[in-house]
């Protein structure tokens, strides 16, 4: 593998992690807001 390919190979995972973190946080805060609006417990 070339140096550029190896660099991309190593650094793509933290980027993917950041994307998943965003998706999970967005889902959590949407549900939190909805629960507050309805006056229900989040869990």
């Amino acid at each position: 593998m070339s140096t550029a390919a190896l660099t991309a190979y190593v650094l793509m995972w933290p980027v993917l992690v950041a994307v998943v973190l965003f998706v999970i946080c967005r889902g959590f805060f949407r549900e939190w807001a909805e629960a507050r609006r309805k006056g229900e417990d989040l869990i």
């Binding site: 140096t3 660099t7 993917l16 950041a18 998943v20």
Partner: protein, 569 residues
Amino acid sequence: MEGLETARFSALVVVGLLVLFYGGTFLISARIGKKEENADGYMTAGNNIGFGISAASMTATWIWASSMYASATSGYTYGISGPIHYGLWGALMILFIYPFGKRIRQVAPKAHTLAEVMYARHGRSSQLMLAGSNIVGSLISLMSNFIAGGVLISMLSPFTFTQGVFAVAAGVLLYTLWSGFRASVLTDFVQVVAMLGAVAVIVPVIFFAAGFPAAFETGAERLTPEQGDFFSSTAFMEQGAPYIAAVLAYAIGNQTIAQRLFAVRQDLIKPTFVTATVGYGAMVIGVGMLGVLALYLGYEPTGGDVNNIIPGMAAEYLPPVLLALFFIMIVGALSSTADSDLAALSSIMMADVYGQNVAGKEKANPRTMLLVGRITMVLATATAVAFASLQLNILDLLVFVGALWGALVFPVLASFYWDKVSGKAFTTSVLAALAVFLPVRFSWIPVDGAFGIVVDVLAVLGVGVVLGLMVFGFFGVRAAKVVGVAAVVVSAPFAVGSLHEYATLSGSLVAYSVSTVVCWAMSVRRREGFDFSLIARRTGDFDQGPKATEAPAPPDAPDAPEPAGTTHP
């Protein structure tokens, strides 16, 4: 490894970080705590958790401290493909079990444990087999997470291993004890944010601080041809393949996963599992890349112990603030899995032991159930702390338990789809599989003669079973048979005569094949079938008191189950 020695935290800093972490999680759990907890909420949070929490919880539970250490070890040992052969297969198993998860929730929408469902399907022996294996597995997992905490604290602070174990055990018990599973999943969200956030920052920082990408060129000569090969067969045969076989069983048999399956809102099972698949894979492979970087750098872990690669690299290349973040990341990983183990153990003792076998479902007292759950958590913590001092080889133990669960996978899954499977077939097939697995796994019988060929043939059948099961969940029985048979035909010429040399792999595979063959043979001629709608009526809430909010059932949900205790097998 000077970094590890010089970058230690002072006692005050470590205490501050632990107070910050465990104090914060305790405050979060205290916010949802109720004076009168609901017994079903304590086990499954009302079967109604949303996407954000459930995806975070599934991800956090599947990631534990050892998965990060092991992924880095795999990268350090097998080179650039090493982290893939640890993280990718572990991640894909979450994906592969979600179709089974949907089916399990379809027939048992309000269950608490998989063992409880087996009781409703077959009776006591299958339930106790599953519950017993889960108790052993969760205790081992709990112990290993406490060990990881003790090692980390002793490595980065003046505190001893034992003090570290006690600190982690007390911290986890503190925030999980009162609200059980509800506290576990809510704190999982915070923990997964800390873990994923840390990886997103730490890996690139270490990458550039260590002199990459230039170090790829200067360090290339340190890699063997196999380590530099992305398609290394050594990495697959020694790391990937045994892990595939073990982790499929782990995903199916482990109560921590099943508990989240029963807790998430039924229409959110797929997005939850898909997100957890990507989250787990990216995180574990990302951390594993530190092992690959260490290999290029010619890094020597302290004492030659590969478990020191990650802490060592962090200590060497991270500034103090990020080292503190790293510390929180590892503590978060081990705590999220440890609290899941406590919640799993308590629900097994509550639902399977007390609820189904001691009091009986109709007479089970929810208050007593809660007491049983909390006492279980305290006793499990004490037991795990006591065994942690033995510092056993955790990964070997877990691979062993995973292989044991391999004997359960086909009988458990078949019990949800095939009405002909009986309790007798379930029990006999599992016991037969264990009887063959143990001598193969521990080489009690020499495998260099005819027995070796028998093992190879059974192991090849096991390859077909594993791949067939994976395909079955998504594409049905016909595709599964085609893939299973094709896998046997393709692998047989290469595997027969040599597969028995890999004891871990062949042990796992024979567990799959023997249980499948025996279960199939005992069921195929059976005339009477099982009515799957009975399972929903035989499982359900124990506690009719106030509980967490419930959403309306999704459109594809089966009819609501009858009140608890209406029918028994």
